[in-house]
């Protein structure tokens, strides 16, 4: 077959890769571990360890090979497993921690930086295993380096489990306390969800859902820099036309994800799951979702108009990406984490971006209040109330929402937390000082909304 790509097209691709930070953010291998239940925590942990090492032993090598051959950086290679609460149901809190330590060892052994799935799905209530796992989260995140945890506590179909919302406020506080000497970094590895995606490849919220196959490959793409340059090139076009240009760009970005997914799936002998069409920023300059919104014409992200700009961006990314991939899934949208996005950090510093505006933006973006550092003395009930608000947005709008909040011990508004690497750094944001405690302490379940009755 003749080669029919023009030189301009080749140079466009090379430019995306070399100067616009286009990369594959993650190749995440989902592994079912439901067959790994042993007679004790130690036995279960060992079985899980062996399965992960067997299934994903060559994951890092395959990712690195693809990077070399195609010239596209594959930043992270990661693993997600079946929610541990399901597999380890019946074990005690201490045994759950043991399992977590085995997960950490498995991640270290195969050379990956994060492994997700220390998780529980409790949107309608707790099993004994769910309770034991959730109680084990603070210690597990404090004693392990690579394990990520998530709890799904609401869905559009089931409503919001306010008992879990209440509990998670306390768990987050405790996790922060146990990792106090590193600004509460444990909380950066803990996400609470409404409508969690079973095939999400992005950490910290990745887990291998119960509806997933034995193993699967899910791809998380990136590319805020590429979209940013597209928007910058057209400072005067109207928004309809701009949406179209973003769609074209998203299409091209997603195609690289589709290619990498197909190749990785073939080489690992694992079925291809999905491409997640997310614009995932990093702390690197130019790799920022905030910069895209600002280049659309907002002085700072957080200014009035930010929600509309984000809605347009998010939708255009989905439309372009959906055409480019055979299977789309995961979270698929623009991420707006604070600590991982230099533009967001700047907007918070300048007083342009508040937690309230971020909450509004989560109505139209892919996930939720992500990587937000709040004062260490924020009451657990206030954290629960922030979670409840996010869950309500997700439940009513039939979308995934999440909270990854870091109540940094000893820090107050104006201070900074430093996590380093992909997790970045963030200024402490102000939360509403008025109490939500009475409301949160009512607990129970917020019933599913009327539009869940669609059968």
């Amino acid at each position: 077959m003749p080669f029919s790509i023009s030189k301009d097209e080749i140079l466009e691709t090379v430019n995306m890769l070399q100067t616009e930070n286009l990369d594959i953010r993650t190749i995440t291998m989902g592994i079912n571990i439901q067959d790994c239940r042993g007679i004790s925590g130690d036995d279960t942990g060992r079985k899980i360890y062996e399965k992960i090492v067997t299934c994903a032993g060559s994951l890092v090598k395959v990712g690195d090979d693809i990077e070399k051959e195609y010239g596209i950086p594959v930043i992270n290679k990661r693993v997600s497993v079946t929610p541990v609460a399901m597999v380890a149901d019946g074990l005690s809190q201490d045994e759950m921690v043991q399992v977590g330590i085995y997960l950490d060892r498995a991640a270290a052994e195969i050379g990956i930086n994060f492994l997700g799935g220390f998780s529980a799905l409790v949107h309608k209530g707790f099993t004994r295993g769910d309770r034991a796992l959730i109680d084990a989260i603070p210690e597990t995140l404090a004693w392990t380096e690579r394990v990520c945890s998530s709890v799904n506590l609401a869905t559009t179909k089931a409503g919001i489990n306010m008992d879990a919302v209440y509990l998670m406020g306390q768990i987050i506080k405790l996790t922060a306390a146990l990792t106090a000497n590193s600004d509460g970094v444990g909380c950066a590895k803990l996400v609470v969800f409404c409508n969690a995606a079973e095939d999400n490849p992005f950490m910290a919220g990745a887990f291998h859902g119960p509806g997933e196959p034995e193993t699967t490959i899910n791809i998380g793409i990136s590319g805020p820099g590429v979209v940013l340059n597209t928007v910058k090139k057209y400072p005067d076009t109207d928004l309809g036309e701009l949406a179209n240009l973003i769609k074209n760009t998203a299409f091209k970005i997603t195609r690289t994800g589709e290619l990498v997914g197909r190749v990785a799936s073939k080489r690992l002998g694992v079925p291809f799951g999905i491409v997640d069409l997310s614009l995932a920023p990093t702390p690197a300059i130019g790799d920022s979702v905030a910069d895209i919104l600002e280049s659309m014409g907002l002085e700072r992200v957080g200014a009035h108009g930010s929600t509309a700009a984000l809605a347009m961006l998010n939708d255009a990314v989905k439309k372009g990406g959906a055409m480019a991939s055979s299977y789309v899934g995961g979270l698929s949208g623009a991420f707006i984490p604070v600590s991982e996005d230099a533009g967001m950090i700047k907007a918070v510093e300048d007083g342009a971006l508040t937690i309230d505006k971020l909450e509004a933006m989560t109505c139209v973006c892919s996930v939720g209040l992500d990587m937000i550092a709040i004062p260490g003395d924020t009451p657990a009930e206030t954290i629960s109330a922030i979670i409840a608000d996010e869950a309500a947005i997700g439940m009513i709008n039939r979308k995934t929402t999440a909270c990854r909040l870091i109540p940094a011990p000893g820090k107050k508004v104006g201070d900074w937390v430093e996590f380093g690497g992909l997790l970045g750094r963030a200024p402490i944001m102000k939360v509403n000082p008025f109490s939500s405690a009475q409301f949160i302490k009512r607990r129970g379940r917020i019933p599913a909304p009327i539009h869940s009755l669609n059968n």
């Binding site: 097209e9 691709t13 890769l17 195609y70 010239g71 596209i72 290619l259």
Partner: protein, 93 residues
């Protein structure tokens, strides 16, 4: 999916003597066949795109990349080597 044996080599930098010679020598020594070359010089800035076939080459791709990287450093050019599929996937359905 069929993984072909063609690579795209792109070379970017300031124009000077011996760029094509330097690169094609390496390719010839590695038994890599050049299928197409196109180059332009815009205000002293040199861009070249090469399509090559490595089907008959005994040299590992990573080794070839390394040799070209070294050459790139010597010529003060940015040389990248990529499998053709990334371009096909991005620009054609």
């Amino acid at each position: 999916m069929e993984e072909g044996k063609r690579l795209i080599i792109t070379v970017l930098g300031y124009d000077r003597v011996g760029i094509i010679a330097g690169i094609s020598n390496i390719l010839a020594a590695a038994n890599v066949n050049i299928l197409d070359i196109s180059q332009t010089i815009l205000q002293g800035f040199f861009t070249m795109v090469m399509v090559v076939d490595i089907a008959k080459s005994q040299v590992e791709l990573s080794e070839l990349k390394e040799m070209l990287d070294l050459k790139g450093d010597e010529l003060q050019m940015k040389i990248s080597v990529q499998h053709e599929d990334i371009f096909k996937f991005m620009h054609r359905i």
